[in-house]
Amino acid sequence: MIKFDNVSKRYTGGHEALSAISFEIGTGEMAFITGRSGAGKSSLLKLILAMERASTGALFVDGVNINRLSRRQIAQHRRKIGAVFQDHQLLFDRCVFDNVALPLEICGYWPQDARRRVRAALDKVDLLRKERLYPEMLSGGEQQRVGIARAVVNRPSIILADEPTGNLDPDLSADVMNVFQQFRDVGVSLLVASHDISLISNLDCRTITLEAGKITEDYRGGGG
């Protein structure tokens, strides 16, 4: 589903954030990306979302070379992906409900359909009662969960999550991982960047470790 082939990313400043990255995530596979701050976890996810372009190497998603996409194709590509951003990326002048509904609005959903799906997604992250609030009225963890609901609302075939449990207590983190595993069980590929070691080791999933832009370990995991 996702295939990195010798990908390097050098930012305009000259800093090489990723060097010679090669790995593959299959359909219905869930993997963690871990590593210290600045190791390149976010950069790797941004490449998949076409927010950044690989400097060298090829990156395939669903068999399509991401580096070759046109603007319009990038938009189409992003609709297949549910993304949780490290900095949430919420719309602050829209309520929780409308934030979560945004991907459906973009895809042109029948509003009644959209309403049902948004409610289901909010229910998954336990925010149904706050659907009419605005993001600034929410705690950091609640905002994060709005981002998670938005990522899953369109039932994407790929979910990318950048520190999705950064602001969550262990119970909520476990809940979020539960939701992710449900998606994996129905064939969604997931890539989760996290430095929450205890959470990762509990799940015993595949774990790719980055160090200064290079893969130093690719633990295959026992739990799937």
């Binding site: 590509h77 945004l102 973009i106 042109g108 959903y109 509003p111 289901a120 998606f183 129905v186």
Partner: protein
């Protein structure tokens, strides 16, 4: 937290190609949101609308003037006349003979004889100096033959007038159509200025709307970023701004219509007072459904297009 595997079976049912009614619903929502956004900053929105209105009003007024001038000209068309002022020695029979001669001329369609007595009567009546004729021992007014040419165009009228110049007993030949020609030239000038002004104003309005929209986009950069991150196209991100541009233009067009109406009312009442003196049944033109619709729709189109031009590159430049 719910299990979701049961729901997945009926996913993907209504996406990709939204039906027409879905499309309408989505547009209606965007349209409403854009409208509410404009209302959040009423002062600056109104300022933009007002500037657009004034811009639209200027060429509209010129077109009004030009339309009225040409309708005046239409009324006057075919009324070119040549007046032959006779010398005082010509007798009534000579006048009658001359007018018969003139009537047989193939370039002349009709001849009217105004005797010197008739001329004095008309003059007294028109000026209100009724007893003037009694006081004057001698009638100072000459008899006049008013000739209507077959061809009313300036050239043939001038040729005919030159030919009549040498007729015996004719003291003076005067062509009565020169002021019509001048009016026609003036009306032409007004029409051309109107066209040039329209082009200048439309360009200016593009600039004004474009600038307003550019600022709005700059203020909502974060929002556009988010929209693009979750798969929104440039067109989707631009849509609310296109609605804003259209609202500005429509608002400007409506305000221009109102202002034009106010000016029309004020001008028309003054004009009717004036026209009453002349017993004219002339009516002001250039204000009606068509011109109002043109202002409103034209304004809306300019606003929309100005927003398209402004947002096109700027939204493309935001590429997270």
């Amino acid at each position: 937290m719910k299990s979701q595997s049961s729901q997945r079976s009926h996913s993907n049912q209504r996406r990709a190609s939204p039906s027409l009614s879905t499309w309408v619903q989505i547009h209606r929502k965007t349209a409403l949101q854009s409208w509410q956004r404009l209302l959040k900053t009423p002062a600056s929105s109104f300022a933009t609308v007002f500037v657009i209105a004034v811009g639209l009003l200027l060429p509209a007024l010129l077109y009004g003037v030009s339309a009225n001038l040409s309708s005046v000209l239409d009324n006057l068309n075919g009324t070119a006349q040549i007046s032959l002022f006779m010398d005082n020695g010509s007798t009534a029979s000579e006048l009658r003979r001359l007018s018969e001669d003139l009537l047989s001329d193939h370039a002349i369609s009709s001849v009217a004889l105004i005797s010197s007595e008739q001329a004095l009567e008309e003059f007294s009546a028109a000026t209100g100096l009724s007893d003037l004729s009694q006081q004057l021992s001698d009638n100072p007014l000459p008899a006049t033959l008013v000739v209507t040419p077959v061809n009313a165009d300036p050239e043939s009228v001038a040729t005919l007038a030159a030919r009549l110049e040498g007729t015996s007993h004719v003291e003076l030949v005067r062509v009565d159509s020169q002021w019509i020609q001048r009016l026609a030239a003036a009306s032409q000038l007004v029409a051309v200025s109107g066209q040039i002004l329209t082009i200048v104003v439309v360009l200016g309005l593009f600039f004004i709307v474009g600038n307003t929209i550019r600022l709005a986009i700059e203020n909502r950069r974060d929002e556009i970023t988010v929209v693009k991150l979750v798969g929104g196209t440039d067109a989707f991100a631009a849509r609310p701004f296109l609605y804003s541009g259209m609202y500005y233009g429509l608002g400007g067009g409506m305000l221009a219509t109102v202002l034009q109406f106010a000016i029309f009312i004020g001008f028309n009442s003054a004009l009717q007072d004036l026209l009453q003196l002349y017993e004219s049944n002339f009516h002001l033109q250039g204000f009606g459904f068509t011109s109002s619709a043109a202002l409103v729709l034209g304004g809306g189109a300019i606003g929309w297009l100005g927003a398209v031009l402004a947002s096109f590159r700027q939204i493309a430049a935001i590429s997270p």
